[in-house]
Symmetry: C2
Subunit: 347 residues, 2 copies
């Protein structure tokens, strides 16, 4: 596989039979939890209301423009997996999504030194300070929702996940522009900033369903490993030629000097000349026309992207195997398939 591209590797995957009648795993998952998701969306909308107009404006913009809602769907599907029949899961799924939204807002705050770089839309429209303060509001509201739920165990898991996310984000900041960052450092960063909330999102389902600790642990492990796989693929996609041909932006991490696994592998596996290039581009921020392309070529030469996906597969396998203790069900199949979906996102 020495010279396989990301697309090559991923195409191997698509050759298997499609058991879902043309639907993507995400569509299947969404179908499975559709009615609960309506509750989640309604809860989120209701809880971001405030007489202070800027709050629903900014939060609404973010929610409307926003994402796959993967995390709350995980909570809802995990609740189905463990046979939960109550109604606490939708509220907690909303908490998880609101915490995620708050961290997105804060993640987009630019540093003084970053002003020349590409910026996220909420920031461009409203500026740093409103993003920070509305993020704080959302975060506090998420906690209020959890407190209403009333389970100290759930509160412990989600408040601890929030600390770990912040810790991961700070660690990411500290590794920025540092080509000496190790794979271990990187794994710590993504474990904090991404995997912790995926784990908590799944674990809380077992708690509301009052399932035994082994099921709670299994769901936490599923979520954590899925989160690791998800972030690894995300970081590979930022350098994916396939993404570029689909008209998506690539190279954001490169321009920001963010040290992700593709860079770490290309740097460590490269020769002295390669490393000098990475240092100049990522540490000194001296980037010229053609540098991103050169970086991509070095990643191909060193198999940095394909091996990043390979690492993602490892976590994906662990995620799937963590679900082994649960009997077969529609929910289990949906969760297993979402692992593949997260890894095959390059399509």
């Amino acid at each position: 596989m020495g010279t396989a591209t990301v697309a090559d590797i991923l195409s191997l995957k698509t050759q298997r039979a499609d058991p879902r009648g043309g639907k993507s795993a995400l569509e299947v998952l969404h179908g499975l939890v559709a009615s609960d998701m309506a509750d989640v969306n309604a809860t989120i909308l209701r809880r971001m209301q405030s007489p202070v107009a800027l709050i629903p404006q900014l939060a609404g913009h973010l929610i409307a423009s926003g994402g796959k809602r993967l995390r709350p769907m995980l909570t809802l599907a995990a609740a189905k997996l463990v046979g939960y029949e109550g109604n606490r899961h939708a509220k907690l799924a909303a908490c998880v999504e609101v915490i995620h939204t708050a961290t997105l807002l804060h993640d987009d705050v630019v540093d003084e030194s970053d002003l020349r770089r590409g910026q996220d839309s909420a920031n461009v429209i409203w500026g740093n300070k409103p993003s920070v303060l509305v993020g704080d509001f959302l975060f506090s509201r998420a906690f209020e929702l959890m407190v209403e739920d009333g389970s100290l165990k759930v509160l412990k898991i989600l408040s601890s996940a929030s600390s770990i996310i912040a810790e991961g984000e700070v660690l990411q900041l500290m590794t920025a522009n540092d080509t000496e960052t190790t794979e271990d450092d990187y794994l710590k960063v993504i474990d904090g900033k991404t995997a912790a909330l995926f784990a908590a999102a799944c674990q809380v389902a077992a708690i509301v369903a009052e399932r035994p600790e082994r099921e709670e642990d299994a769901l936490a492990s599923f979520g954590r490993n899925l989160g690791m796989a998800f972030q690894l693929v995300d970081d590979a996609l930022d350098y994916s030629a396939r993404q570029a041909t689909l008209g998506k932006t690539i190279g954001d991490d490169f321009r920001e000097g963010k040290i992700t696994l593709p860079v770490i592998l290309a740097f460590r596996r490269g020769d002295e000349e390669d490393r000098a290039f990475w240092r100049k581009a990522m540490e000194e921020g001296e980037q010229n026309n053609g540098d991103l392309e050169r970086g991509l070529a070095l990643m191909t030469k060193t198999n940095a992207l394909t091996d990043t996906i390979d690492r993602a597969r490892h976590y994906g396998s662990r995620a799937r195997d963590a679900l082994a203790i649960f009997k077969e069900s529609e929910a289990k199949h949906a969760l297993v398939d979402i692992v593949d979906f997260c890894i095959q996102r390059a399509y």
Copy 2:
């Protein structure tokens, strides 16, 4: 009192006999809760530890450089007032201070448009993004501490206070540079950004002591009114000639276009020419040499500062009277005297 200065008004207060043997009310309060405060400080230091070095660095800088620790002292003194003998109050006092510290960090985040203005030190040293992320970490840690305490009632009060703080901060942002801001708007802002946490800090003491609701309400009212008085005085001090003679910076709010009560009163009570001045200085941000002095003169002409202090006195009186249901004690005297202290801070 038409032409009395702030210093004149305040000097009236110092002429009364000093029942505290030369100690300031703050020193008396500190003496009352000194051993508990040692616990609070140790808890804060322990909880800001993290393997991610930037977190204890930045948080430590902020805590070390920091403040009177008024909020946690209120929790501790209120616990004494209601005869609490357990050990939960120190942990909750630490939560209150950590929440306050997190909001300070976020309050100092500069907007792109603010880059030319004066900045706070944490920001100058580390930049916006670390301040935001470490603030998030502190905030999450405060929640973890509360969850450990295990009282859903305490969690409800402190998570609700956090939402209200964020709401108040956003409202303040929306009133910035708007000379049409009313006194009612302003009171909503300070009720949210300051008084809510003062109220919660006091109220939780009654909860851990399992005191009846009327004592809980009394302490919440004491805290809320004290917080209002505190913030009103703070906003007057930003224009205080006395502060200037003590070598402290004045006019920060003026330069930032922050609309506080002294400006609101001077604007509303002024003539058309005065209002044109305020609009140019606060809305258009067109400030020249001598403009701060002109603003101060307009405040004197309209009694804006003395009447801001007068409003503070009103809330101070309500705070003192809220404590009427408690029997006389050292703690009660310390709390009553701290009201005067907050109003007399201009010395």
